[in-house]
Every structure is written in structure tokens, then in C-alpha cells.
């Protein structure tokens, strides 16, 4: 059953315009990969830096000021969603039947849930705490989960090649 669904998704994605484009354009794949790494650096450079601050690193930086860098991280994440979806569409069998792909998706989901818990919970209180105070436990937890989840995403992404069907 699941196998049939995956094969149907594979057949569909393979013939989408973005899939055909990335499979045939001469330098398409390497350029999209480079963009994927650029998006990753934008994400880790802002969200990762914010996570370190949540853990208590460089406490003199006001959280609200550092938080204003987050839209750059979101832009990086969107670049990576788009380029990533193009990779998936171009060679769907290489991802849909690959364990590392599901690890990567799982880590992205963990990072996403962590973001929701963070904004629903400790974030407001955090904006009011003055710089130079030790962050509350909930904030430190959010920072640690986020950093580990993104390191997991990058590691699983790198392992994709080694788990190809």
C-alpha cells in the first residue's frame, strides 16, 4: 500500500516541470546545490546565532535585537525548501526510497515543532528580560533542541548519497 503510494508520487514528481528542468539543465544541479548551501548558511547564521544566545552565549546582546535577524534565516529556509523540492522532483526515487531522507524530514519537523513551542511559550517573557541575565531553562532548552535538530538536518542531508537505493 505505502509502496504503491510512493511509486505514484515518484511517477508524478518525475514529470513535473521543475523535475524535468533540473534533470536536463546543464549546470542546473550544481547551481541549485550551491544555493541550497547558501540558504543553509543564512539559516544557521541567524537562527543558529539566536540559539547560541538562548543558551546564554554573548548575553549582552538584547534578544529582541538579535531576533530581528530571523527573517534572513526564514529566507534561507525558503530557498532550501524550493531547491530541495526541485531535487526531490528531479530524481524522486533517490529520496523516497532512501532512509536518510526520512531522517532529514524528521529533524526538520522536530525543529518546526520546537519553533512553535518556543513562540507559544517562553518567547514573550524573554523579550522583557534585560540583557545580561541568564536565560530561563525553557529558553535554553529551545536553543539546544534547535541547534541539535539543524545539525541533524545537515548530517542526514549529507548522508543522502550514502543511502541511495
Amino acid at each position: 500500500m505505502l509502496d504503491q503510494i510512493l511509486h505514484a508520487v515518484e511517477a508524478y514528481l518525475r514529470h513535473t516541470p521543475q523535475g524535468e528542468f533540473l534533470r536536463t539543465a546543464k549546470w542546473g544541479w550544481p547551481i541549485f546545490e550551491s544555493l541550497h548551501f547558501t540558504g543553509m548558511s543564512m539559516l544557521l547564521g541567524t537562527v543558529g546565532v539566536f540559539d547560541l544566545r538562548l543558551l546564554g552565549f554573548a548575553r549582552r546582546i538584547p534578544i529582541a535585537a538579535l531576533h530581528r535577524l530571523i527573517p534572513i534565516g526564514i529566507s534561507g529556509f525558503v530557498i532550501n525548501l524550493i531547491t530541495g523540492f526541485c531535487f526531490l522532483s528531479a530524481t524522486p526515487d533517490q529520496y523516497l526510497f532512501n532512509r536518510a531522507f526520512y531522517w532529514k524530514v524528521t529533524f526538520i519537523v522536530i525543529a518546526g515543532l520546537n519553533v512553535m513551542v518556543f513562540y507559544a511559550g517562553v518567547f514573550r517573557r524573554l523579550l522583557e528580560t534585560p540583557p545580561d541575565t541568564p536565560p530561563p531553562l525553557a529558553a535554553r532548552m529551545a536553543g539546544a533542541v534547535s541547534l541539535l535538530a539543524w545539525i541533524g538536518v545537515m548530517s542526514a542531508g549529507r548522508l543522502l548519497t550514502f543511502f541511495r537505493p
Binding site: W27, P30, I31, E33, S34, F37, T38, M40, S41, M42, L43, L44, G45, T46, G48, V49, L52, F57, A58, R60, I61, P62, A64, A65, L66, R68, L69, I72, W150, I151, M154, S155, G157, R158, L159, F162
Partner: protein, 166 residues
């Protein structure tokens, strides 16, 4: 050079990195190089966008502590990069793009140090001086070029090892 490649590729470390089926060999070194890149370039991104005027409430002298993150990323990548080079010396050293990548990294680091000196007296809530802002824009472009050069290495090599082609 050729005899150096032959010698290096026959060393136990090079052979192990290249041929071991263990995920702790080549795949782990690649993961280190990727995570290191994210923090190395990422810390530069944070620094450059602040100098360019995003989120001026961030005190530059406090953000300076993130140079530690940058250097941590740099050393992770220097070590993992040397390991990748030991695994495939012919592949990298016969590719002109590899030297371009190293030069761009050197330029990126030089720019980061220049920018840091250029904003020494800038407080939170104030603009960085124009020359520092120009350098920060160049720096962002430089890091994107490093990423492209690094990624394209896999597609532009001609020789994989002394006796195999890419």
C-alpha cells in the same frame, strides 16, 4: 607532484578514508565539513548583515564574541578539509578551482578582520561607517563564491585518483 600523489594515496589513512564502508570514515568527514561551513559562513553572515544596518540594536562589541563561532567553524573545516584532501589529493590539487576556493577563503577572512577593525567605535543603534558597510557587502558575495567554488569542485575535477578519472 605525481609521485607525491602516488605516495599519499597509498598511506593507510588515505586508503581508509576513501575505501572504508564505515559511516565514520568519508561520510563523517563530509558532515563535519558541512556543519563547520554552516557556522563559519553563518557567523560571517550575522556579522555582515549587522554591519550593513540590519537590526542595529545589536551592539557590535557584543556580537564580536561570535568571532569565536567563526573560528570554531574555521578550524572544524580546516581539519576536515585536510582529511578530504588526504583522501583525494589528486582530485583537489589538479583542479584550478580548488586554489580559487582557498584564495576566496583567505579573502573572506581578511575582509572579516578589516571590517572588525573598521567598526571598533560603533555603538548599538548606530550605523557602521560607509567603508565597513561596503566591505560587508563584498564579504557576503565572497562567501557565496566560496560555497559555489566548493560545490563545483565535484563537477569540475578531471582526475579522481592517480589512476582514475572523475
Amino acid at each position: 607532484m605525481e609521485s607525491f600523489f602516488v605516495w599519499l594515496e597509498a598511506t593507510p589513512l588515505s586508503t581508509w578514508l576513501r575505501e572504508s564502508p564505515s559511516l565514520w570514515a568519508f561520510p563523517f568527514v563530509l558532515i563535519l565539513h558541512t556543519v563547520g561551513l554552516a557556522f563559519f559562513v553563518g557567523a560571517n553572515v550575522a556579522w555582515d548583515v549587522r554591519v550593513l544596518g540590519f537590526s542595529m540594536g545589536i551592539p557590535l562589541d557584543a556580537l564580536r564574541r561570535y568571532f569565536l563561532v567563526m573560528w570554531a567553524g574555521f578550524w572544524i573545516n580546516a581539519v576536515s578539509g585536510v582529511l578530504l584532501l588526504i583522501a583525494y589529493p589528486t582530485k583537489a590539487l589538479t583542479n584550478p578551482l580548488f586554489y580559487a576556493k582557498l584564495a576566496l577563503i583567505g579573502l573572506g577572512i581578511a575582509l572579516a578582520l578589516r571590517i572588525r577593525r573598521g567598526v571598533q567605535d560603533v555603538r548599538a543603534d548606530s550605523d557602521a561607517p560607509r567603508p565597513a558597510r561596503t566591505l560587508a557587502a563584498v564579504s557576503l558575495g565572497c562567501w557565496v563564491a566560496v560555497i559555489f567554488a566548493g560545490r563545483l569542485l565535484a563537477y569540475t575535477c578531471t582526475r579522481l585518483t592517480v589512476d582514475s578519472t572523475c
